[in-house]
């Protein structure tokens, strides 16, 4: 199968000395795989996510995503890469509060220069899929946590990314909303979406992921495949 993510001896250090926050780590993720990354605080989960998203650069090794080596890319090219290949869902939603729900969802597509009609149609399709059409013109600040996270997922999917990255997507939600989001991720995975999910929640990892890696002090401590997740 095609590898969507390939990390070769990747390490990330903050500052000039000390042990790396992550790695050295070698890891690959295949297309359609749902990888859960677990580990205690400071284990390097978010660092891994940032490197894969092209938000940060590795100190050592190479990071390739969707067939591109990220360490070779300029900031401009990294931005283009993110908007075309990556969808991101954050713990605290990171919606832009001065934009409506529709505008939030459309933003990544608009940044790529997609035609207005096409962007609007895709946003409408996603809102319908995620059950948030009635909030189309609402301000995100007025929605519940679960609704906001659905908006964030819709925004992440608007450009049909090769890879969906989710950083503690249920971490700021109540139980019911968390359950909603979990089902959503399971559905997306079933639909063939490649997902990397960073979470403390082992139940979420078990429910959504086809594979789980456990990081400790920046190193891979465990790598398990759980077909039951499907």
């Amino acid at each position: 199968m095609t590898q969507v993510i390939q990390l070769e001896d990747v390490a990330k250090r903050y500052g000039s000395a000390g042990r790396p926050a992550l790695g050295p780590l070698t890891l690959s993720v295949e297309q359609g795989e749902a990888l859960a990354v677990t580990g205690p605080s400071g284990s390097g989960k978010s660092t891994l996510l940032n490197l894969v998203a092209g938000l940060d650069r590795a100190t050592e090794g190479t990071v390739s995503v969707a067939g591109r080596r990220l360490d070779d890319l300029t900031e401009h090219a990294l931005a283009r890469f993110r908007r075309e290949q990556i969808g991101m869902v954050f713990q605290f939603f990171n919606l832009l509060d001065d934009l409506t729900v529709t505008d939030n969802i459309q933003l990544p597509a608009q940044l790529t220069g997609t035609a207005r009609r096409e962007t609007a149609a895709r946003a409408g399709e996603l809102m319908e899929l995620l059950g948030i059409q009635k909030h189309a013109r609402a301000c995100p600040g007025r929605l519940s946590g679960g609704e906001r996270q659905r908006v964030a997922v819709a925004r992440a999917l608007v450009n049909r990314p090769a890879l969906l990255l989710a950083d503690e997507p249920t971490g700021a939600l109540d139980t019911a909303s968390g359950e909603d989001v979990r089902e959503l991720l399971v559905e997306l995975h079933r639909g063939g979406q490649t997902i990397v999910l960073v979470t403390h929640d082992l139940a979420l990892a078990e429910a959504c992921a086809s594979r789980t890696i456990h990081l400790v002090d920046g190193h891979l401590a465990l790598d398990t495949r759980a077909g039951a997740a499907r």
Binding site: R83, D97, L107, P108, L111, C139, P140, R142
Partner: protein, 800 residues
């Protein structure tokens, strides 16, 4: 918590002090911006304040500073002894006197052979005196024969320290070296030297007189001065008092000279001060307003509302105090060249930043900062802890969403439309930024218009200098030395005149003559006007020598006269009216056909035709040469022809701008640069605040794929609309300010202004000035835009 209250007093001990110090240190960019913005605002306020103070009765202040002479009197040495003159200082009403100083006149020639006007030379052993305490501007006082100190108004490229002058064009005339430049507000002399040298330079044509300078206990009116003068005349033998010069005439001249600059300086001064207040207020209130979350946290851990208010006011005051201190220093440094220019414009004694400006401006600066910090700090102090934390980490309630929806419909890239809509999220900050841009644009528009108007004034002055070659026929009234001197003896001396017809024949015979007209200048009397008025009479087609017309038309036939605004105002006449003019015994009734932009002699000069006055003989021929003919060569050849006839010819150099106009233009340029910089800093501050506040949102956008270029576009677009609006407000306001100030300047100079001076803006220029608003906004936003583009996305996403 009691310890917190005890720590207050801006000595900042204990927890409160630590909060303030960490607040100042943590927000380094904001602290630096507050300090820089305050520094620039205070510097511009110091400059503006100093200029306004300097514009307040400049002559009176300089006159008081120099203990100026109320009356400068020339005495006949043969008729009044030194002792008798010294005794006049004891006369009733005399509060101080100086002299007698030996005085004479010289008509010097500079090293390049250029003739200077007749100059009054006075022998004084030093610049200090009880009356007319001279301001030695540069160099030193004359100490030995051959050394002179020149009036500083003569300072120029050909006349510097070390330059030499010959006392006349005679081959054996003594050479004098300029060793200093001095200023006499009372204009008691043009040249000073040692008493011995003054005595040595006197001649039969320029006899030695004694100069006495007086101050009186009552000298406010012409009447009082006349009474004082009569008392002095009575105290010396009959006929000993030769002439006198009243300070009131000198003051009138000086005030007329200074008057046009006053509205100009006040306009710039007010702009500078208003802008300073806006920038300082917006910088400070923005800084405090953006700290709400931190304020909430402080309250959560037990700070009282009062302590919070004190902490945040102090956090604003610390960088502002540093900025204010630096601003005062910078303002004093910047004021030096401007006050030098002002000195030149006013002919005043050395001007400095008035001490109380250095006290009032920083005190007002601190007050503005304190108040600007107090309002949002009080608001923050009153917020409940939960509210403060919630407001600080906002989900904002979607303020400005309508703007995003509207901008989203524009056919522009999303990053740009997002930026265009973002100012609507912070209406108060946007308004402050808009005002800063608008004021900067007003200053730029006004300065451009003013410069163009002053250039037009320069071009309109002395139209006869536009002729390629001037041929002098000799004769004409001599110029009075040292300002307006009331002559007691015979009339003014006149040089022998050449025969105008022979000069005319020489001009017509000279190869290369294209056209010419002739003119003469003299005095005439006009029925209803006390005293004489200067008159210029033209012969031939004088359209080339026409003044800019305010209304009516230039002379095109006999029986006509063109006059200045001052004449119309003083005589209560208007175009179409007639006046009776007497010139050398011939009286004619002339119809006023035009109002000329002629500011000479207070706008009292009149222009007419020689045809109306048979006794009028042309003394000057203004010649245009044929294409391809060199005016210099033409003038040299013609001079050879007319010198034996008693005349002379010279090519006119391309008209140099009047010193006064250059001074005003350089002042306008410097003041504009300063105001535009302050406006740019205001924008910089607002965009820095905005960008830092939105760094998380920008991080989100970047995480979603916004490229660095798109991020820069977003930040720049967020000020572009403000720039456009600022331009749209600032250009008409600057245009209106120019339209208001210029006529006021004209009235102060005693004249209306012609369209060529008032209508100086052209559409493309206004369009460019409109873009100046955008340029100011863009320049201010460039730095934070670059920062926003460079900030690491992962870091931005972690920012709260």
């Amino acid at each position: 918590m009691n310890g917190f209250g005890a720590g207050f007093g801006f000595g900042m001990g204990g927890a409160l002090g630590r909060v303030v110090r960490s607040g100042v240190g943590r927000r380094r960019v904001q602290t630096v911006v507050i300090a820089i913005a305050t520094m620039m605002a205070v510097a511009s306020a110091v400059v503006a304040g100093s200029l306004i103070v300097a514009s307040n009765a400049p002559f009176d202040h300089a006159f008081a500073q120099q203990h100026g002479a109320h009356l400068t009197v020339q005495f006949d040495r043969a008729r009044a002894s030194t002792e008798q003159l010294a005794a006049t200082g004891e006369e009733a009403g005399v509060t101080a006197s100086a002299g007698p100083y030996p005085a004479t006149t010289i008509k010097p020639v500079d090293a390049g052979g250029g003739h200077l006007p007749t100059l009054t030379l006075v022998g004084r052993s030093g610049p200090q005196a009880d009356v007319d305490d001279l301001d030695l501007k540069s160099g030193r006082w004359a100490a030995k024969p051959g050394e002179i100190v020149l009036n500083s108004s003569f300072s120029g490229p050909n006349l510097g320290l070390g330059s030499t002058l010959r006392t006349s064009d005679a081959a054996d005339s003594p050479t004098l070296t300029i060793v200093g430049f001095a200023l006499s507000v009372s204009r008691t002399a043009d040249v000073w030297t040692t008493p011995a040298q003054a005595r040595a330079l006197a001649s039969k044509e320029a006899p030695l007189t004694n100069q006495m300078l007086y101050r009186f206990d009552s000298a406010a009116t012409e009447k009082e001065l006349t009474a004082n003068r009569e008392r002095l005349g009575a105290a010396v033998p009959s006929g000993a008092l030769l002439g006198s010069q009243s300070y009131l005439e000198t003051k009138r001249d000086a005030d007329e000279g200074a008057a046009p600059t006053i509205p100009f300086l006040i306009a710039f001064g007010v702009l500078g001060i208003v802008m300073s207040v806006i920038i300082v207020s917006s910088v400070t209130s923005g800084a405090v307003g953006s700290s709400l979350r931190r304020i909430g946290i402080l309250k959560a851990i037990g700070f009282t509302p009062r302590e919070v208010v004190r902490a945040y006011v102090a956090q604003a005051l610390i960088p502002a105090a540093v900025g204010i201190a630096l601003g005062v220093v910078l303002g004093n440094l910047l004021a030096v060249p401007l006050l030098d220019d002002t000195e030149q414009a006013y002919g005043a004694a050395t001007l400095g930043v008035t001490w109380w400006v250095d006290i009032v401006v920083p005190a007002a600066g601190l007050l503005v900062v304190g108040l600007a910090a107090l309002v949002p700090a009080l608001r923050a102090g009153r917020l409940s802890t939960v509210e403060a934390i919630a407001v600080g980490r906002a989900p904002r309630t979607g303020r400005g969403q309508w703007a995003h929806r509207a901008a989203g419909r524009l056919p522009l890239p999303r990053a740009v439309t997002y930026g265009l809509a973002s100012p609507f999220a912070h209406p108060v900050r946007t308004a402050a930024m808009l005002l800063a841009v608008a004021f900067g644009t007003v200053a730029a528009t006004f300065a451009v218009g003013l410069t163009a108007s002053l250039t037009a004034v320069g071009a309109a002055a002395d139209p006869e200098e536009r002729a390629a070659v001037t041929v002098f026929g000799g004769g004409g009234p001599g110029t009075g030395p040292g300002g307006p001197v009331r002559q007691e003896g015979a009339g003014r001396s006149e040089a022998p005149a050449a025969d105008p017809e022979r000069i005319r024949a020489a001009v017509e015979a000279q190869e290369g003559t294209a056209s010419y007209y002739a003119m003469t200048r003299n005095d005439a009397t006009v029925a209803g006007v006390t005293g004489s008025v200067p008159v210029a009479l033209y012969q031939g087609d004088s359209r080339a020598g026409s003044y800019e017309m305010i209304s009516g038309h230039w002379l095109d036939g006999a029986g006509q006269t063109v006059v200045g605004s001052g004449f119309l105002e003083r005589t209560g006449t208007e175009i179409g009216d007639t006046v009776r003019v007497t010139y050398e015994g011939d009286t004619r009734t002339l119809r006023i056909v035009g109002e000329a932009f002629d500011t000479s002699d207070g706008g009292m000069a009149i222009h007419g035709n020689t045809a109306d006055f048979p006794s009028a003989q042309p003394r000057m021929f203004l010649v245009e040469v044929k294409p391809g003919v060199s005016p210099a060569e033409y003038a040299a050849k013609l001079a050879d022809a007319v010198r034996p006839l008693g005349g002379d010819a010279m090519a006119n150099a391309p008209s140099e701008q009047d010193n006064f106009i250059i001074v005003l233009e350089s002042m306008a340029a410097l003041l504009t640069l300063m105001l535009v910089s302050v406006a740019g800093l205001g924008v910089l501050n607002s965009v820095v605040l905005d960008t830092r506040e939105r760094v998380h949102d920008l991080g989100v956008c970047k995480a979603l794929g916004m490229s660095p270029r798109q991020t820069v576009s977003l930040v720049l677009a967020s000020v572009a609309g403000i720039g456009v609006l600022g331009g749209l407000i600032g250009v008409p306001a600057g245009f209106a300010l120019h339209g208001f100030v210029l006529p006021v300047m004209g009235h102060a100079a005693g004249t209306e202004l012609p369209p060529s001076v008032l209508d100086v803006y052209v559409p493309w220029q206004l369009l460019l000035l409109g873009l100046a608003g955008v340029a100011i906004a863009m320049l201010g936003a460039l730095l934070p835009a670059g920062w926003a583009a460079r900030v690491r996305t992962a870091t931005a996403l972690r920012t709260e």
